[in-house]
Symmetry: none
Subunit: 197 residues, 4 copies
DNA sequence: CATGAATGAGCATTCATTCAT
DNA sequence: GATGAATGAATGCTCATTCAT
């Protein structure tokens, strides 16, 4: 039965990959179920064996990609022992930007679909099932840094980073990411300073 | 004939208002022409007497609202003679936030549809047909302030402000606008400082 | 009131001319009432002051043009005294072909809409209100020619002439009218011979 | 899978038959897709599984019926060895008239839709993929008959036959087919004589 | 399990016709 | 009389979803 399970997993993954690409390129309502199944080399009806409807596949996609992104961001820091909190943040930011440059579809999808509510529900399995913010909180504690209004700070940073990556990487607006990157680092630093107590 | 013209204007306005509300609540592709006309108490066909298709009404809406918003923001400053550049910006920001608090639909619509390209095309009739950025540029000049990478700065500020207003006013995420407002002022100030030469 | 009557006639004529051109070029169901009124420089609603609906204008058109065609064909013969019946027919045929070459729209319209029933109802005001076939019958009598199955003969001749004119003049199929014309004369002659007793 | 294919064929045939009847009775633009599917006891959407749009079903219909008609006409001749060319033509003509008497809808459809261009593209699979005119040409050759302006001759004959069948069979105008038939034979004979060299 | 044929609700758009001005 | 704004029925076509095979 493990074989069967594996096969089912493969099918589901194929559908999710197809949907991912199509959603990022054409948007949800412009992507048809037929589009998705065709790209995955399956029949239309098969879709409904794996997902209740179109919105279910979208939700699963968001969850899955978000976990991956945040986990990789965490690993990006590497050996943190000789780094300040701000340096850790810079490393994470650099890692994210690089990732997004390599994989613009991912960026498009994340930016379009990742909601604040969702972020807070993400739990990184490889990190004691903690949420991204708990992980950052632990890091800050280890570095002896304290913030007021942590949530607001994270929110601002995330919004600023995601919107600037989106426009500069995907559309080179208002400038290429090479130009935007140093300014973005600085803005993030300033926002963090603003909230540091 | 003035009567007829007036009536037509009323009809068109009714359609635009209906479309505005529906677009902000359900999005463009989820809003049907029938929805719009029903809400405006008209027959489906009437829509096509005033607009070529759905995208035309959207474009007219964006243009019309953007001009209004930016013009009002400009007037918000009032007598600038005794104010610094930063103080002017704070006044504009406060005015905008107040406006958005009063009119959340407007906020929703602006945030969803106002693109960077569009902003640069907006010309304020009451201000020598200048664009918002030209107006701010003039102001900065009068105040003797200079920036590097002005465009990027404006972009970052606008994105930060619009996204924070959107989430805090409409969804109280990550906090209510009362909490976010002072922090937003400060972030904007810091961003402007970062780019001041 | 004669003035008013005249004006009404002019309007009606303008509508009929526009409709005629549009029907011949685009067909009945592809021509909209708006098309017709626009071409006649009138408002949509005005159409309904002169015609009950689209089919009424078509019927009036057919009648009017058919009468004109047949009357002119009759006049084409000129002084018949020294001509045989066949020579008269040849003259009529030549006149018709020339007329159709000059005015292809007329040809298109006639061929599409002139029914056998209609032909038999046509009465030429300038010829004692006789039908075309009565006129030809009189001519045959004067020339001392007799036919069996006159109706069938006329029908065959008319169909052959109209279809060949249509295709050769309008589409040069299967050949140009220059090539077809002599053969058409001969076929008509042969058909008449076939029915001559 | 043969079952499925068979069913699909049945469905497609049902659609084509419905469309055929409706097109002949109401014309192309007066027939809606809903009409067609209703008559075939299917849902509207099903139509689009089998045909791209309305014009595609019309094209398929014309092609299919034309090939059938011409092939049967060819077979009508039977053993030609003791027949003259004219006698062969008479047999074909008789076969066609009989066929049209039995199947007036077919006649209506053919007459309305079969264009000269199309006839020349018809290739009879059972006769070395030759066109109807090539087949007749071969026959004439075998019989030692020669024509000038063959195309024009065929065109005239076809037009005369189809229009006379149409009106006499479908509307008994100008007379019943029983009356018209012998005259039609004779006219065809005369036309062929006219072009024989 | 997988398929894809079938369904029918839903949409954008057109246009004949009416009617208030 | 003339206008053209308003109507809403009708049409071609799409697509999410179901279900028999």
């Amino acid at each position: 039965m493990g074989r069967v399970e594996e096969k089912k997993k493969l099918k589901k993954d194929a559908l999710m990959n197809s949907a991912f690409l199509l959603f990022t390129q054409k948007g949800l309502s412009e992507t048809t179920v037929l589009d998705i199944t065709k790209k995955a080399n399956m029949a239309k009806g098969t879709f409904y064996l794996y997902f209740k409807d179109k919105s279910e596949i979208r939700d699963e996609l968001i969850k899955s990609y978000s976990v991956a992104i945040f986990n990789e961001a965490r690993l990006e820091i590497g050996d943190e022992t000789k780094l300040t909190f701000q340096e850790c943040i810079h490393k994470i930011l650099d890692g994210l930007i690089n990732k997004f440059i390599e994989n613009p579809d991912l960026l498009r999808f994340i930016d379009k679909n990742l909601s604040w509510g969702l972020i807070q529900e993400i739990r990184i399995a490889d990190a004691d099932n903690k949420t991204p913010f708990e992980i950052l909180g632990d890091l800050a504690e280890r570095k002896g840094v304290k913030f007021r209004d942590e949530n607001l700070m994270y929110y601002m940073v995330i919004e600023m980073v995601s919107t600037m990556c989106h426009s500069s990487i995907l559309d080179k607006i208002p400038a290429d990411i090479c130009v935007v990157r140093p300014e973005l680092h600085q803005v993030v630093e300033r926002i963090i300073n603003q909230f540091t107590t």
